[in-house]
């Protein structure tokens, strides 16, 4: 049996910013390979695993797509300053307030360690304070001489935050990239569960690329798989002091099952019913618009895919100390597996009966 914490440590300490997911993809591939029947990498780098259903000769199996994005937010180098300082832009929306003081790895011709620096508080004027922190006023300092920098690093080199995985009490953990590597761990938990859960449907487990820059990987993955049903796994805001109750979900109280126009009611309701049936803790999350997750890309693919969304509550989103409960990840994995067990042709057909 696999240890979620061990897997999370490994994949959150491996870098893979949007568009440059190769490193983390190979770790994820290693972990899933023994559990799946088929695997492939598509044109944009999505990792696609298949757990085949128990075939019934009469009709082709229903296809279920579960996906979670493996990319993390990061940076790209935009300019090498003459003195060797590096200017950068964001890949996805980092919480800028948390940037100064971070350690980073710059992927030049070789990985180079560096830090993000800015103006010290003593030298900040009233005007600076009013303006607030902006990425354009920060820089990366690698300590390399300007000649060395030019040799190793170029415009367009990818940059990832360097941060160790930190297990905390009550089976929780903090680190970077838990958005959405926690979702990838949910998929792995699901794959494990499916070893002992009989299912008719073919289950596609996909670690998508480029979610943070506009849910791009899921667009082409969905087209390529052409699923009958899709469920995205992503993170939602966890609770913290001062949060409005309706804006957050509680940690360690189970995954949130999302409802809203991005979600097919038949999928949302079935997820809730499965959670109840197996006495899995769960919460409701309402999302009144397009969700901004892979679920959005899936829903409007091809002729339209009945789509669901399961969220793992996570605190401090888009910082390097994102915090999740391992229990929620395990529960979410089970929820998906038990959900997959009930999917067959007739379920798919019923979804179109209003």
């Amino acid at each position: 049996m696999f240890e979620i914490g061990t897997f999370l440590k490994e994949i959150t300490e491996t870098d893979g910013v949007s568009g440059f997911e190769g490193r983390v993809a190979s770790r994820i591939e290693e972990a899933f390979s023994p559990l799946v029947d088929e695997k492939r990498v598509d044109n944009l780098g999505n990792l696609i695993f298949l757990k085949k259903g128990e075939s019934k000769a009469s009709s082709p199996p229903a296809r279920v797509l579960f996906c979670a994005h493996m990319d993390e937010i990061g940076f790209l180098i935009t300019k090498l300053e003459d003195e060797g300082f590096l200017r950068f832009t964001s890949l996805g929306g980092f919480d800028v307030r948390t940037l100064p003081g971070q350690e980073v790895t710059v992927y030049g011709t070789r990985p180079v360690k560096g830090i993000i620096g800015g103006k010290p508080p003593h030298l900040r004027r009233e005007r600076d304070k009013k303006q607030g922190l902006k990425t354009e006023n920060l820089f990366i300092d690698t300590g390399l001489s300007k000649e060395e920098v030019k040799e190793v690093i170029q415009v367009g080199s990818a940059v990832a935050i360097h941060r160790s995985y930190l297990p905390l009490l009550q089976n929780s953990a903090a680190g970077k990239a838990l958005d959405d590597r926690a979702g990838v761990a949910v998929l792995l938990q699901c794959a494990n569960e499916l070893e002992s859960v009989r299912h008719e449907a073919d289950v596609y487990l996909v670690a998508t690329v480029q979610e943070e820059v506009g849910v791009r990987g899921a667009v082409v993955a969905t087209y390529g798989i052409s699923p009958d049903v899709g469920v995205a796994v992503d993170v939602c805001h966890g609770d913290f002091p001062g949060a409005l109750e309706h804006e957050v979900s509680k940690l360690n109280k189970g995954p949130a099952i999302v409802a809203g126009p991005n979600i097919h009611p038949g999928i949302g309701e079935r997820l809730v019913r499965v959670a109840r049936e197996y006495q899995l803790p769960y919460q409701h999350e309402l999302s009144p618009g397009p969700t901004g997750t892979d679920a959005r890309a899936m829903q409007v693919s091809l002729e339209g895919i009945p789509t669901g969304l399961v969220s793992v509550p996570l605190r401090y989103m888009h910082t390097s100390v994102e915090l999740v409960s391992i229990n929620d990840i395990r529960t979410a994995g089970r929820l998906l597996a038990y959900f997959a067990r009930g999917i067959n042709r007739s379920f798919v057909e019923e979804l179109t009966c209003l």
């Binding site: 044109n43 944009l44 935009t78 090498l80 367009g156």
Partner: protein
Amino acid sequence: MKELLTRLCGAFGPAGAEGPVRDMIKEETAPYSDEQAVDNLGNLVITRSGSGDKTILVAAHMDEIGLMVTYIDENGFLRFTNVGGVFTKLLTGKRVVFQNGAVGVIGQEKLKDSGELDLSKLYIDIGAASRDEARKKVNIGDMAVFYSPLGMSGENRVTAKALDNRTGCAVLVEALKKMPSEPAHRIHFVFTVQEEVGLRGARPASYHLKPDYGLGVDVTRVGDTPEPEYKLDVSLGKGPAVKIKDTSIICHPRVTSLMIQTAENNKIPYQLEVLERGGTDAGAIHLSREGIPSGVLSIPCRYIHTPAEMVDLEDLDNAVLFLLRLLEEKWE
């Protein structure tokens, strides 16, 4: 190149009404095309069959930004909306031209303070004294573009409206003329419509043509002017740029490294571009079907989306050479 660019920039072609540009390109390229087709949305597809088994889609958009008439008042003044990204603050006093040749000037109402300026405070004056007189020339829904023909600036630089992206069109046309009779791959040169309003033409073109690889050719911003808005390490005259990222695409590493390798091997000057704001056709192309690995060859351009955009002709010549060499590469 300058002569072709002069004609292309002079042509009328706001998003959705690219006809005159398309006709010009069709005629110019007819002797060099194995096949010419116009698709349902108006994209012009010029195909050259090649020896290899790969298909490469090369896209440059024909459309330019413009203005569209929304209302004609009783005194003959035209109210308008934008077609694509125009800078409201730069409009007052500019001349615009409609497809039938009617020329107008953009006027501005009195403002309490300058922060108040938006499109509703501006109007187009085509010299008509009444609504009826105006209607004889212009109707609601008609589009206008900047009236700003190409002119030389210095030895090698030109300014004009619509260099975004007639520059890219000119590069494709010139490349087509110089291509070997049997290219290494099947090449679709696609002159797209409606890029400026959301990469709309490239989407169905890519869906239909099912290429193995996509390549956009478009202009990009520069960081070489006084106090530029973005810290962008791209300059005019230092060669075409290999795009790494903009807001529509993170270019496929396999394509960008092939591009860099090609430039290095052929000693073509090039720059690397990370554009913080802006997108291009490759953004739509790479997300079609199961994903198309795509890249972008960018032409540095100053003052984009103004009536006086500026490019360096040497960059264009290098871009043509770059494109020709690139299309002869292996693309595995």
